[in-house]
Symmetry: C2
Subunit: 217 residues, 2 copies
């Protein structure tokens, strides 16, 4: 069993590698973990020794199948707990991340299966992110970031990339959440912002916001 800290590193590597598609650099990993490059190197060496990572000095790391599975199990727990907090306990979607960061490390297969069952086997969490199954298999998303959407195109919001609370509060304000329809009306080349139609209302989306909004045409 990986330690609390090891689990957090594996999860960060999974996210930084875009679901395992590219190697993760030491500095990026250190930044994501809010630590120093030297510490990241140490941990990477340890995780490589335990066969969670393929590590080549100076060239970054990749998750092994074992590491990938482990990361996805932690992500499954995180997303199930977030769903529980919002659906069952009535938390707002911008309040759940920190608590789920703790709950995801509870070691009990039985507990997470019971929570899954209690929630009725949800497919996505409150942010629209897919929940891996108990084997660590992930449903493909086929979504694109909203800033890639062509003008005049209609699409459905499927997920929000970042779990930052200030972003989620902003999205709440304009009524953007998974399931809502969105249509790009106009774009500004100056700052890459856009005007869009969301639920019949005109809204302005900055580049930062539209990049974090995943949609499906």
């Amino acid at each position: 069993m990986p330690s609390f800290t090891e689990e957090n590193y594996l999860k960060a590597i999974y996210h930084l590698s875009d679901a395992g598609t590219k190697p993760v650099l030491t500095n990026d990993l250190a930044e994501a973990m809010k630590t120093k490059a030297a510490s990241a190197t140490d941990m990477v060496k340890k995780l490589a020794l335990k066969n969670f990572l393929a590590y080549k000095k100076y060239y970054g790391v990749n998750l092994t199948p074992k590491g990938n599975r482990e990361a996805l199990i932690v992500i499954r727990k995180h997303r199930l707990w977030e769903t529980f907090l919002v659906q069952t306990l009535g938390f707002a979607w911008d309040e759940v991340h920190e608590v789920a960061e703790q709950l995801e490390h509870i070691q009990s297969k039985r507990l997470i299966e019971k929570i899954d069952e209690f929630l009725g086997y949800p497919k996505t969490d409150p942010h629209g992110d897919p929940i891996p199954d108990r084997k660590g298999k992930l449903q493909e998303q086929h979504a694109i970031a909203c800033d890639q959407l062509k003008e005049g195109k209609q699409a459905v919001i499927t997920a929000v990339k970042d779990s930052d609370s200030s972003l989620l509060k902003l999205l709440d304000k304009i009524g953007a959440k998974p399931g809502k329809k969105i249509k790009v009306l106009a774009r500004e080349t100056f700052d890459d912002s856009m005007e869009a139609l969301l639920d019949g209302h005109k809204v302005f989306l900055s580049k930062e916001v539209s990049k974090n909004l995943l949609v499906k045409e």
Copy 2:
């Protein structure tokens, strides 16, 4: 905020001191924490420095009001999570202790208040132990161990002292749980066992079992 380990020490000291009524000896604490006396001494010194404990060398420790409050808050979380696991997720009462040992350390006031609300503000956990309120105040129990009960006396089971899974399974088998009526029929002086009437059935209780069964006349 005390660390994970510090919280476990405080909880152990609370239980070993019989709710703060007597000092706790280093060896007993070490045994309860499954560690060595030297480690217990180190931790006790640290907790005393942080004003959770009153410590006099070679004479054991007592919880300060601050330490008592902290211990009761951990115990509150433990018992609320146990109640949640049994009532909401359908765990058996002998399965919840280990998981609750982990969940009790989640740091989120909001979360535990929401769980409390969701459960309808229960007064006791599945083992009959009282749940401290959010200030760390505990309802008095006024219960005696079943082995103190006089022959012929009728009483109601209020709680089970130990959370050991094999004890709880045994109690399940004979149908002993909080709320059930019990009457002492006869005692054996040889082994301090007893025969009792439980829900219309005759049952035999060893000294070990009857000591762990709390009743109210």
